[in-house]
Amino acid sequence: MALTKGTAMHFPLENGSDLGRTRKVHTTCFMCACRCGIEVTVEHEQIRFIAGIKDSPVNKGVWCAKGGAGIMTQYSPARLMTPLMRAPGSERGQGELVPVDWETALRTVAGWLQQIRDTDPAQLAYFTGRDQMQAFNGYWARQFGTPNWAAHGGFCSVNMAAGGMYSVGGSFWEFGWPDLDAARWFMLLGVAEDHPSNPLKLAIGRLKDRGGRFVVVNPVRSGYGALADEWVPIRPGTDGALLMAMMHVLEREGLYDREFLARYTNAAGLVTVAPGQPEDGLLWKDANGEVLVATGAQTFTPFRQAGGHGRLEGVYTHAGRTYRPAFAVFQERLTTCTPAWAEAITGIPRRTIVRLALEMGTTALQHPVVVPQPWTDFYGVTHPQTVGRPVAFHAMRGLAAHTNGFQTVRALFDLMMMLGTIDRPGGFRYKSPYPKAAPPPWTPPSHRRDYQPGQPAPGPLLGYPQTPDDLLVDGDTPLRIDEAYSWKYPLAAHGVIQNVIRNAYDRRPYGIDTLMIYMSNLAWNSSWNTLETRAMLQAKDDDGNYVIPHVVVFDAYDSETVAFADIVFPDTTYLERWDAASLQDRPISEPDGPADSIRQPVVAPPPGVRPAADTLIELANRLQLPGFVENGQRRYQTYADFLQGWETSPGSGVGLLAGFRGPQGTDQYVGAPNPQQLQAYANNQAFWYDEIPSERKYYRMANQAYLDWAQSVRFVPTADPIVLQFYSEPLQTFRLAGQGLWPGKQPTHPALRARLATYFDPLPFWYPPLEEQEATAAEYPLLLITQRPMTHYHSWGSQNAWLRQLLMENPLFINPQAAHALGLTDGQWVWIESRQGRMTAKLRFSDAVEPGTVWTWNAIAKAPGAWGLHPDAPESQQAILVNHIVPDTLTSRDGQVTFNNDPITGQAGWYDTKVRVYPSELHEVWPKVAPQKPRRADMVNLPHLRYTTRKGGGR
């Protein structure tokens, strides 16, 4: 590295033995969460070039702006170089941290944790962000014995994940994928420039080459939307109404796949019609628990014996009880969901809704794609070929990040079932290890006694409640600090990270001792109502003690949250450690086959820096957590040991990495731990991929050859068919609890009962986001949303010298017609005000946004001095963080503190923010937060960076 003014960088620049040598190392990118395979060229022990691995199943040789700019993240001056401790006498949040030695840091934190574990393990809340080692972190927390662990999904996209898992046992991104190699018609909803990065770009490129039609539904046209053959602007939070109206048209025109619904979904399942009785809305089952369908006026047959001949329509009576097929119940609901109804809600003309529905319906039903591949279903019927319905969808947060998001995602999956596009050519295709049962039969330990001092929790901490009896409640009181799996947020499959700090501050349901944060920026852009959240982290009780006594942060960079830590453990970069993208976690599988990958150290970390997972293992060893320490022996010294040695249960043969198992490294999926496994991955370009034979590639929920194989490799516990849940019976059990009709756990508070009764509909429906129900909603006529720029989204390295040049300030975009109506002009400073508060922004006119929406870029604004940047950097002086005015709670009308979350999953409704916009007398970014002192004062004033790996630098 050649830097002017002779500035020294504290990195291993030149290693004598390697001087002059160039080498290539394969690993997995972590500039965002997409896990592309990268080949890193190292010259003179510095990163020369990062390129995509051509054989990688994820990115197939390409790489994005973030991936290439990883070089600058590696050399970011925001790097933390030693453990840090809040300076004696300084206040939390000032960022006055002093270096301490590792032993002091470890001993201090281990001391806090030992005290907690010996008394009440729930006093530890461990929440992580964009980490990709949730299998490890979840295991660590479980062995510690706290219920209070989750990653960031509650603030991210749990509605998409849970909505899919409860519907089809899969979802988008890691779970499944639009098959754009065969689709003729593709609708992208609520995705602008992200999720995922290179794979979606590759797929859109192929669709474009084939001339497929591309329809984008989004309030904003940008990124992928630029290539849309048709942009359908929509009001945020109304996608569910659009989807319902399209289903209305499909149903009325008969453009739906009756055979698919009857054979592979529970749409023919007979729903008990018994209002006011405990059986109401439950599916009628035989003595074996098999759902019954009507195969004649008075003939009722178990689903699996009906051979797909279950009737979708009609009303049936038996023994004095009335039953209706789930589909018939839904048909009745659809009658009022007309395009005219949806037009009033979405702003989309009714003609457009009809046209899109007819396009997708005729494409799916009248223009199938045929793959000459025989396959056999679970009925034993062999199909001579595989027929696909070439209509594909992809969706993400535009649907998910609303307080009506779960039901909207349910609507999307029911639409896909109606079109018959689940795991068929040209439609949605699963990625291994999915499909799972819908939902998978895993539930977290649900009793207070499951979390005892000195004991591990008896099961994994996250899962999928099947009925109210699976909730983590004691009466009405939540067991978890984030209220996941409580009556307020029952299906919180990813936890509810955004609830943690306020609840800990309010000591609701109890106070905690230590908040441990890994790679989540909870004091800034991973929170809402940011200023109050920061104040809660700083709050003290009457005795002058912090309400949250200890905050421990693991991070590689000097984030805003580091300033709020009492102790900081410096993490490595992704180019300095062993790591895995695991089938037990968030794998890199493709529709054609399972895959996983590793990270391996490309360069050595700075001497004072250790991988966060190694630090957590050291803490586990000091605490003698079971599973980590057995009979006084440490099982793992490092995360690399854990990656190779850990099994889902002792002797299961299933571990974090599925490839190169067994003593010879010749086993796949199931095999004894292989102490040379990581080396085998390194020798195989850092990944493993196993293509599924053609006869098992489609209809995997019903393909018996696939199901038998999936059981053999432990993807599923049995080879039973996975029946798609057009009708979600688990939701009805919660509704019954709300109605006082469930025989097991029930809430007592009327507001809790009402939430369950209202929102837990077993069939999808649209309702206005909860923010619309606020008394002041009409005072804030515009919706405020963010879009994620391709160059920055999900990137923990967006402060880097190259990426930041691509976007370092963010105006507020507004439709010119809307602006003129408000008397606002282009470039003007304005106030954006929500019921939470107000902030300034500079307006920029754009015709590529619908008039009811204002928006800006996410992930640009930074606190002054944070992330190694100069306190005057544009990211703090010209960039805005709208999180400040995103309300975190709903106005209480019932004495309850209720977060602005989806009432089903707890997903943060951060796309529901309503604002008004008016001229500002203040012509600068406001609010401001106190500057942090950059840790590298020498670097913030660096006049020139002339990066080169050539010896001597430059020419």
Binding site: V62, C64, A65, G205, G223, A340, A848
Partner: protein
């Protein structure tokens, strides 16, 4: 031979992969470094390839387009004759326009002459720098043949960019230009750029108005 890059605007999503992979390769390449001023403050760096974003039309009939812009490697490159030292030159064998840093005196006349604004001045070295079509990659025989192409072409996540010889009628680039109505920027200026772009291709809907009206008329 005239080497070129063809960019399919029907596939460019504006992700700036090409912009960064250019910088990434070239800053440590034969023609680097590609420097950055004030990198951790008001950062303003040198980029040989910049992706331009455009918006056209009125809501809701608005189009958004992205266009990567770098040296056009013109047949009649205006930057070449204005250079007082001959530092700016066009290679006879492959048509690539390059700058000889040893001969460049930093007068920046070429920057004034270039109609496309793609040349940048390195104050530290006193020379003008720009896209070389990754000449140090495409002629590097130590690289595997599939890597002997510009970094921006190799990285492009939608495969919107294609590299090759425009004058070879059998080349992929010649076919794309011929079959997809390839065009150049500002042809009226007469520089005859080698770099071409492919226009958008629309995939229209097919449901006719009568059918829509029928469905609407039935109670929607």
């Amino acid at each position: 031979m005239q080497l070129t890059i063809i960019t399919d605007l029907n596939k460019c999503v504006g992700c700036k992969s090409c912009q960064v992979s250019c910088k990434e390769h070239n800053t440590s390449g034969d023609f680097g470094p590609v420097p950055d001023h004030d990198p951790y403050r008001e950062a303003e760096g040198m980029w040989w390839n910049r992706v331009i974003g455009m918006e056209a039309g009125e809501y809701p009939h608005v189009g958004v387009m992205y266009l990567p812009k770098a040296c056009m490697h013109c047949y009649d490159a205006p930057c070449v004759p204005v250079c007082p030292t001959g530092a700016s030159y066009k290679r006879d064998d492959n048509g690539v326009v390059l700058v000889d840093y040893e001969a460049c005196i930093g007068c920046q006349l070429c920057m004034w002459a270039c109609p496309y604004g793609v040349r940048e001045f390195d104050e530290h070295e006193g020379v003008v720098k720009k896209c070389t079509l990754c000449i140090d990659r495409i002629e590097d025989e130590s690289l595997p043949p599939e890597d002997r192409q510009p970094a921006c072409v190799q990285s492009c996540p939608t495969h919107a960019r294609t590299f090759g010889d425009l004058e070879d009628p059998d080349s992929a680039v010649a076919h794309l230009v011929a079959e997809r109505q390839g065009f150049v920027l500002l042809p009226e200026l007469g520089a005859r750029p080698a770099i071409h772009y492919l226009p958008r291709r629309h995939a229209p809907g097919w449901v006719d108005a009568e059918t829509i009206e029928r469905v609407l008329g039935e109670g929607s």
